[in-house]
């Protein structure tokens, strides 16, 4: 999981809001057990939607500003951004299909 793309408070604007393609952000923290359960699913999504969707993680411990801005009170929360807007939100660790369905709806 070491090379999984991370986004931070300082790169959020450029990486997410100005992205040409939709971006799926996983708000997580290392102390959150269920967050660790979603990680492998995200890696699969990253491969399956390669070129169509950017899949990135945001550590809420290190990047509190972005988490606060989007009203994250529960992790894992997945937000999908399209055209600079949060277009979908999924709270909790869910099976892969739920993320796939949501992405297909937005693409």
């Amino acid at each position: 999981m070491a090379d999984f793309p991370e986004v931070t408070d300082s790169t959020f604007e450029k990486e997410v809001l100005q992205s040409d393609i939709p971006v799926l952000i996983d708000f997580w923290a290392p102390w959150c057990g269920p967050c660790l359960m979603v990680a492998p699913v995200l890696e699969e999504l990253n491969k399956d939607f390669s070129g169509q969707v950017k899949v990135m993680k945001l550590n809420v411990d290190n990047n509190p500003n972005t988490a606060q801005k989007y009203g994250i009170f529960s992790i894992p929360t997945i937000l999908i951004f399209k055209g600079g807007q949060a277009a979908a939100q999924i709270v909790g660790a869910m099976p892969k299909k739920q993320y796939v369905d949501k992405l297909n709806e937005l693409l």
Partner: protein, 307 residues
């Protein structure tokens, strides 16, 4: 269409232990898990009552160890969400999200999930102050006041856990005494940040965008009130993941699977272990034990079929 002797549905303590035993018996076994193995135990910050860890062990650590132990004996695990299970000529057919399987023996260890309280505002404010996982979300409520709903082990343990972050933790419980283990109760009742609201139920959750307060009702006096909190953590029991069967199978009133002492359900060759079973106590320690029994019983069942 794939074929196996045994399939285990669910990768929590029961499923992984069944897998460990089945793999050591050299059965042709596969475990299906919808996420990553671990189950509900992954949401527990510290497991203090699983034997062998005298100082306790974190839920994620314990589950990673059990998974690795099972894999060491050759257990295969696939990420698949099981949608339906049916019977076809004595074999069990499993339909998962992108694969189908035929098996001779099935071990259902698909567990349970937190029950919803079912009050107005709960669904709307989920992830915005309404939470079912204190270890995941506690840190978002630093110096805030929060409520925990429930009176069992999970509710009271997690209430004490939340005192690490919150300024004040209210336990809202509908009865006049807690059900949690005495030691756990003592920790909560003696904690300066914890206050128990007895004989009280939550009738609604109020908030624009985020939780602002809960509506309460005292069940003895009928008195209604509001309590300002930023977070509400629900620990009002669990509901079984048992609606996958396309054939009659005996369940109790709560939907939990009824088994005999060898973990066989009312359907021959279908076993149940862990939180999905109808039983008195839902803990990691007996989930693991039931997984072992189910695997052994399934092995005997397979032997009797071929002889």
């Amino acid at each position: 269409m794939k074929e196996h002797d045994v399939i285990i549905i669910g990768g929590g303590p029961a499923g992984l232990t069944a897998g460990l035993y089945a793999a050591r018996s050299r059965l042709d076994v596969l475990l299906l898990e919808k996420l990553t193995p671990g189950g509900q135990a992954v949401s527990t910050a510290m497991v203090e009552n699983y034997p062998g860890f005298e100082e306790g062990i974190s839920g994620p650590d314990l589950m990673t160890r059990i998974e690795q132990q099972a894999r060491r004996f050759g257990l295969n695990i696939e990420i698949q969400q099981v949608e339906r299970v049916m019977l076809e000529n004595g074999r069990k057919k499993i339909i998962a999200d992108d694969e189908e399987y035929f098996v001779k023996a099935l071990i259902v260890a698909s567990g349970a999930q937190p029950k919803l309280l079912g009050v107005p505002g709960e669904k709307e404010l989920k992830g915005r102050g309404v939470s079912y996982c204190a270890t995941c979300d506690g840190a978002f409520f630093r110096e805030k006041e929060v409520a925990v709903v429930g009176g069992g082990d999970s509710a009271v343990e997690e209430a004490v856990y939340l005192t690490r972050f919150a300024k004040k933790v209210f336990i809202i419980h509908r009865r006049d005494q807690l059900r949690a283990a005495k030691l756990v109760q003592e920790r909560a009742l003696q904690h300066e940040k914890v206050e128990v609201l007895w004989d009280t139920v939550v009738t609604g959750i109020i908030g624009e965008q985020v939780v602002q307060s809960v509506e309460l009702k005292n069940v003895k006096t009928g008195r209604e009130s509001q309590l300002k909190v930023a977070g509400v953590f629900m620990y009002v029991g669990v509901t079984p993941n048992s609606d996958i069967f396309d054939f009659p199978i005996e369940k109790d009133a709560g939907g939990f699977l009824v088994t005999d002492q060898d973990m066989q359900t009312s359907v021959e060759g279908v076993y149940a272990a862990g939180d999905i079973r109808s039983k008195l106590l839902r803990q990691i320690v007996n989930a693991a034990g039931e997984g072992a029994i189910a695997a052994f019983a399934a092995e005997k069942y397979l032997e009797n079929q071929t002889s």
